[in-house]
Symmetry: C2
Subunit: 196 residues, 2 copies
DNA sequence: GTGGATATTGAACGCTGTTCAATATGGGGA
DNA sequence: TCCCCATATTGAACAGCGTTCAATATCCAC
């Protein structure tokens, strides 16, 4: 068709990422394909590769958006509920519930062999860790190493609960008791490490 | 080539599953392909489809083997260490470390849309749950509902720790402190729920 | 020895990510 | 106003994917 100039590169980026997110939420990230995206935005495959290096880069950018989205929700929840970890756990489950496919991709997508995780992604994750560990610090007698370890454990634990509950792989762990498990986990663990 | 009769169907099954496991451990399950398996075993693709319904079925059978393997290790560990949960946690991490790609597939592979998780897979998982919750029961004052919930939490938590540590996605949660996190988690949580 | 049963093949189909020469067009200069 | 060139856009091409199935080559019973 030749030159069209309907959209700037920035607009195309946004179109592509929005389309990718739509497809992922509808069909899962394994079903995402370059041709589907291009069809969705009314361009052909080639255009995607003018705007992004490849599909991997598109997925990374979508993950970055999901991550920032999650971080924003976490910060809001912490201020609203005065750094309550049980409340944060609920918030985390809610995020997984309403963004299951995107959250799934965020944590399960693995780089093609040879490629390295981009530093900005690590940085964003580290920032989120800092947000949580700071909120946790007062509860744990301002013991910083303990707060960091607890953050890791809480994070990994909530990740496990959400993954297993929402994937439906463990019949015993069903969605309805995700909240109940998370509550038992957060309260039990925080209570336990204060004793030890 | 026509009829060859080098191997019985059972032998072919074993050849295929062994080859699949080899490829998965080397390259990850996303890189598994029918043509790679067939090349590995010295047959052509068509033969795979005489023995198994499709690639999905092969993956499920590999997962079943991994699951049984894990269950065996768990049972052995529980008897060797007198139902110690911290020891079981170590055992679980070790299993993930030495079978990372297979464990990864076991927990992350999701069925093609429309297909349902086979009942025998659910059954095997439930059996493993029972093994752990039975071992946990005496520690928790023979409170069965509590033991079941605790098993779910411990399971999900260990799953999260292993996933995040071994995928290397969280720079803060590194492999070296997987054991340390797991220990804090198991001891802290079990101590905590006895208090609450 | 021969014929039928069947294990094995491999080409074919429609999908995938990615590349890149060809092309059609918007906009600046004359 | 017209034209030309820079370039945004295209779509055919390639290799690889899962899956199917008609053709085939071989084994085994008779």
């Amino acid at each position: 068709m030749g030159r069209r100039n309907d959209h700037s590169i920035e607009q195309l980026q946004e179109l592509i990422l929005k389309a990718a997110e739509k497809i992922i939420e509808q069909e899962g990230y394994q079903k995402l394909s370059a041709r589907k995206i291009s069809q969705e935005i009314g361009y052909t495959v080639g255009t995607l590769y003018n705007v992004f290096k490849n599909l991997n880069e598109i997925i990374l950018k979508v993950n970055a958006r999901t991550l920032i989205n999650l971080h924003t929700k976490i910060k809001l929840n912490l201020t609203q509920h005065h750094n309550s970890m049980p409340e944060l756990a609920k918030c985390y489950i809610d995020f997984w519930k309403s963004n299951f496919q995107l959250a799934n991709m965020l944590f399960n997508y693995s780089m093609p062999k040879g490629e390295e995780f981009p530093p900005w992604a690590q940085l964003e994750i580290d920032k989120m860790f800092l947000t949580v560990s700071s909120a946790l610090l007062p509860t744990l007698k301002n013991n910083l190493p303990l707060a960091q370890k607890a953050t890791s454990v809480l994070w990994a634990g909530m990740h496990g609960i959400c993954t297993l509950c929402l994937s439906g792989k463990m019949s015993i762990i069903s969605l309805e008791n995700a909240y109940s498990l998370a509550d038992s986990f957060v309260r039990g663990y925080l209570d336990g490490i204060l004793d030890l």
